[in-house]
């Protein structure tokens, strides 16, 4: 009884002389391979050549500083509570006298860690941030041999004063009516 019409009848017919030679079949197979040598290659020779990212690409995070070089983050914890992968942890501390040039507000993040193995690069932290502090950039998280080295602390995440990271393409201008 036939249940579906997807079944195939297997034939056991004898091969012709041409098929028995095998060489035409091999040559036509090689021909397909040969054709691909003239096509544009799909991959890039990274890291010598890098692909251009779209402006909404979500790569490694950056903790921004303001125009005067003070850290924007106040350790409010909204990024951590919005993170679906629970990748962000932080400890807050109070700004002391004389540290006004380092931190913008009276509270700052003494410890700020993102576990890049947990992070799913959804960008919700960036969306939750009320202080313009965290942004996802078009930088790639580099590979490593140890799991511990994927827990990125402030030494990696905070942008250097002399080496600012441009996020103008990602910056949104929200309007509330």
């Amino acid at each position: 009884m036939q249940l579906t019409n997807r079944s195939k009848v297997v034939s056991n017919k004898e091969m012709s002389f041409k098929e028995k030679l095998y060489i035409p079949a091999i040559l036509s197979g090689m021909g397909v391979t040969f054709k691909h040598m003239f096509k544009k290659s799909v991959s890039l020779r990274y890291p010598e050549v890098t692909r251009q990212f779209s402006p909404v690409y979500r790569g490694m995070h950056v903790l921004k500083r303001d125009a005067e070089g003070r850290e924007n983050c106040t350790a409010c914890g909204l990024c951590a509570v919005s993170c679906p992968a629970e990748a962000i942890t932080m400890d807050a501390a109070e700004r002391k006298k004389g540290e006004e040039h380092l931190y913008r507000e009276e509270k700052y993040a003494a410890k700020y860690e993102i576990n890049m193995l947990r992070c799913i690069f959804c960008g919700l932290c960036e969306e939750a941030c009320p202080k313009d502090a965290i942004y996802l950039t078009d930088r790639i998280v580099e590979s490593n041999y140890k799991r511990n080295s994927f827990v990125f602390g402030k030494d990696v995440l905070v942008e250097k004063i002399e080496d600012r990271i441009d996020i103008t393409k990602r910056k949104k201008s929200y309007k509330i009516d």
């Binding site: 951590a80 509570v81 009516d177």
Partner: protein
């Protein structure tokens, strides 16, 4: 006894009950929000105007509606009164205005403020306010004063609800702080910058609806939604000793009174319990505190989670066998 209808729900209450108390008896869906009224403090209420309601029928004898919106915390009910709270457009509009006024001088430093997450002004602004301010003026500022090593005062955040003043007057003996100056310039202060130290002064932190009075021992330690509240008690000769202990990991970060659904403490606790007992061994733990699932404090807390078993080379065979049996 008098019958009152609030938002279409009728309840019979004793004479002399205020509209707010009657609404709270019906339930949280009709109860107007409050910022200054505190049922445990006498003569509180009447300052903030957030609990304004519309009285569409004065009473059975005089069915005319009241001409203006009334403060429900200070208006007593009459037999046959009909009150509109959330069903009245006038009330919703007025409350939006009240929130805008409360936020006129309130600094929006929620990312820094320790009260964020359990702040009544945040809830009120979220539910009843508009997302934008219309004022162009500078917010008021104050000279910072130190009111002791236990309580932190942020005068800029204060909404002048007078709750802390009434707590100091009614719960502790010998009030040393009050509201100085008038109008726009009024501020909570102590005379000659005297430190507030009294066995029950810590309750000022609990009654404050905003982050104006916060726990100095908890200052910037953690956001409230990273801490886990548990009910705990201890034998205390000064107070009932029934508290909520807020944990982060193994550490007790702070101790507060137990707050009910209206954000009011059930019992006032003493300063020894609040500030000095910060070890698990000091407390008898009763169990996790029930927090509304809508609160940010219960974000990322899983109550019904079964932890998956860890697979190692030693137990992989036994797990496979037991799970095979289960199937």
């Amino acid at each position: 006894m008098a019958k009152v209808t609030i938002d279409g729900q009728t309840i019979e209450v004793a004479d002399g009950t205020t509209i707010l108390q009657a609404a709270r008896m019906i339930g949280p869906e009709v109860a107007p929000p409050t910022m200054c009224y505190y049922s445990k403090l006498k003569t509180s209420g009447g300052y903030c105007r957030t609990c304004l309601v519309e009285v569409s029928k004065g009473s059975e004898k005089d069915p005319r509606p009241m001409p203006k919106l009334v403060a429900s915390c200070r208006t007593t009910i009459m037999d046959g009164m009909e009150v509109k709270n959330m069903t009245s457009d006038k009330v919703i509009d007025a409350r939006k205005g009240v929130v805008e006024f409360l936020l006129l001088n309130h600094p929006l430093d929620c990312p820094v403020c320790d009260q964020a997450g359990e702040c009544q002004l945040q809830d009120l602004g979220y539910e009843h306010g508009s997302a934008k301010t219309r004022t162009d003026f500078e917010r008021r500022t104050f000279d910072k004063i130190d009111i002791g090593n236990k309580i932190q005062l942020h005068m800029t955040r204060c909404i002048l609800c007078y709750r802390c003043v009434k707590t100091a007057e009614q719960i502790t003996d010998g009030r040393v702080h009050g509201v100085l100056n008038r109008g726009d310039a009024s501020e909570i202060s102590t005379y000659i910058e005297q430190a507030i130290d009294n066995d029950f002064s810590g309750n000022l932190i609990d009654v404050c609806p905003v982050g104006a009075l916060t726990d100095k021992t908890f200052r910037f330690k953690s956001r409230v939604w990273f801490t886990k509240p548990v009910d705990a008690h201890r034998d205390c000769d000064k107070c009932s000793g029934k508290t909520v202990v807020w944990y982060k990991g193994e550490d007790v970060l702070r101790v507060t009174g137990r707050k009910d659904q209206w954000g009011e403490v059930e019992e006032f606790i003493c300063n020894t319990c609040r500030f000095d007992k910060k070890k698990t061994s000091d407390w008898t733990i009763e169990g996790p505190r029930a927090i509304s699932h809508q609160s940010v404090i219960s974000a990322n807390h899983y109550t019904k989670m079964v932890k998956p078993r860890e697979l190692t080379l030693n137990n992989i065979k036994t797990i496979a066998l037991t799970e095979g049996e289960n199937k």
